[in-house]
């Protein structure tokens, strides 16, 4: 094993050899390595978040024709550091009627729920926490931690705004979990395994080529799961004055923001792992660190796209959010699942080009049908329109106009 081709495993092998040389039993050496590895893998995302917050504020600033942070350090780079030092020394105010245990547990759970996702992501052929054999199920299960955090925050704060925000958060997060889980079934079907490393290894053709609609559904559902614009009605600043986190201050409030920014990056990481081939690329199998670079590039592109959407979309109403999830995304993902299963069985696997083309046609057809149904459903809705007064004397009438 060479340091240049695989630095991580070289270091791991070196430490293991050193520990065994000290007379540590091999099972304990493994345990110590696990603790070190998990410690590093959990700490690095927290540190990356500092950079992510700066980058996102800068990009959002540019989108909104502002400069963004530009005072502390070159291009405002140390703004987040300054914010962090400030927020560490802020008073932690607990409202008097708060339910203490859920109130204090909520920020911890929402960060932990995001961090825990990193345990199963393969960053390179040999750089990964663990290739869990139920990886995808683990992702969905651990994703529920964040929802629990929102619920505890809203319930424990003893504040009506917080409670309303939490209601909306739960309604949105659990609803969008359905199309997300259903769209994840398709990569699992193509792979025949739930392990994340197996899913990456199976992507000789990227799954976004084989099933673009599944990728689209997953992308939309993850934006809703993060609670970013246009699905930001769980913290709707203009009506709920920030929703579930209104009663938090100091670092407890900061933790919700760390979770939010990190979650946005993590779902981009998941998207590029599951649909964009993960670490795969030229020479990535020989040089694992090169695979890591490929994954990083793909992730940053997806993440940038999600920020562009955040910066350019208005907030949707709660009935539109529910309509879009239950009447568009869920039937579409169920239909996609059924038709993909049929078409993929009809075509023998080795014919890659034929498979890709027929999948593409199938996906295009499904999108067309969805568009047709969408138009048909929204045409049924009739809403009263207050007619303008054409002449001075006439009274304003209300007439039904189909839109």
């Amino acid at each position: 094993m060479n340091f240049l081709t695989d630095p991580l495993n070289f270091i791991i092998g070196y430490i293991r050899g050193w520990l065994l040389g000290l007379g540590v039993p091999s099972s304990w050496a493994q345990f110590i390595l696990f603790v070190i590895g998990a410690g590093i893998l959990a700490t690095v995302p927290m540190l990356i978040t500092l950079g992510l917050i700066w980058a996102e504020r800068k990009i959002l600033g540019r989108i909104q024709d502002r400069l963004g942070p530009n005072r502390v350090g070159p291009w405002g780079m140390f703004q987040t550091m300054a914010d962090m030092i400030k927020i560490f020394t802020k008073e932690l105010i607990t409202p008097e009627n708060a339910d203490r245990i859920p109130y204090n547990l909520a920020p911890i759970l929402s960060v932990a729920g995001v961090l825990a996702l990193w345990a199963v992501i393969p960053f390179g052929i040999s750089i990964l926490g663990v290739n869990l054999n139920v990886g995808i199920l683990y992702l969905i299960a651990v994703g529920g931690f964040g929802t629990l955090g929102f619920m505890l925050a809203g319930w424990g704060s003893n504040n009506k705004y917080a409670l309303l925000g939490a209601f909306r958060a739960i309604a949105q997060l659990i609803s969008y979990e359905v199309p997300m889980a259903l769209s994840l079934l398709i990569p699992v079907m193509f792979t025949g395994s739930l392990g994340m490393a197996d899913i990456v290894a199976a992507q000789d053709v990227w799954f976004i080529v084989l099933s673009p609609v599944a990728a689209l559904i997953f992308f939309i559902a993850t934006i809703a799961e993060v609670g970013r614009s246009p699905f930001d009605l769980l913290e709707a600043d203009s009506e709920l004055v920030s929703g579930f986190n209104i009663e938090y201050s100091g670092l407890k409030f900061g933790m919700f923001y760390v979770a939010d920014f990190l979650h946005a990056f993590t779902v981009a990481l998941l998207f590029s792992t599951i649909f964009l081939g993960g670490w795969r690329g030229p020479l990535a199998a020989q040089y694992p660190w090169l695979g890591f670079v490929y994954l990083l590039i793909k992730t940053v592109i997806v993440w940038f796209l999600s920020i562009l959407i955040r910066g350019s979309m208005p907030r949707i109403r709660i009935d539109q959010m529910m309509f879009f999830n239950w009447k568009i995304l869920t039937p579409l993902s169920l239909g996609l699942l059924v038709t993909t299963a049929l078409v993929d069985k009809a075509i023998p696997a080795p014919q890659t080009a034929l498979r890709a083309i027929s999948m593409l046609i199938l996906n295009g057809l499904l999108l067309l049908i969805t568009n047709f149904i969408w138009r048909a459903v929204s045409a049924q809705k009739e809403r009263p329109v207050v007619a303008a007064q054409p002449y001075g004397g006439q009274k304003t009438g209300i007439k039904k106009v189909s839109s």
Binding site: G37, P95, V111, A116, W155, A181, V188, E247, L334
Partner: protein
């Protein structure tokens, strides 16, 4: 196999520990000057009226029920998806029947107006 779960256990423990330690550190560093006005519930400057844990809209409950149906369905579909490469066309048709029953449930809920938000 078991060592995988050991790793997940260690990782979850560290993931819970990191924010807890950070908040604990902040609690030590930060000043503590509570007073009556500061600690009351913040509702845009108005005094809070009545019970906070209010009754909520029944729609949330209906959507929770529908979510439960579909989430359990997804859990049933995951083992099928893992075995998909090995099953014959009959396995696929059985899964389609399973999905069709649930789709009928969705259509029923739709027609009943359970998917509307009033």
């Amino acid at each position: 196999m078991l060592s995988d779960w050991l790793y997940i256990g260690i990782f979850l423990f560290i993931a819970l520990l990191l924010p807890a330690v950070a908040i604990g550190l902040a609690a030590i560093l930060s000043p503590r000057k509570p007073n009556k006005i500061k600690n009351i519930t913040y509702e845009c400057g108005l005094e809070t009226v009545g019970e906070t844990w209010v009754q909520f809209k029944a729609q949330y409950y209906i959507f929770a029920l529908i979510f439960l149906i579909f989430d359990v369905e997804t859990v049933f579909l995951f083992p099928w998806a893992v075995a998909y490469q090995k099953v014959t066309i009959f396995g696929v048709i059985e899964a389609i029947i399973f999905v069709a029953i649930l789709l009928a449930a969705l259509v029923y809920a739709w027609r009943k107006g359970a998917l509307e938000w009033f």
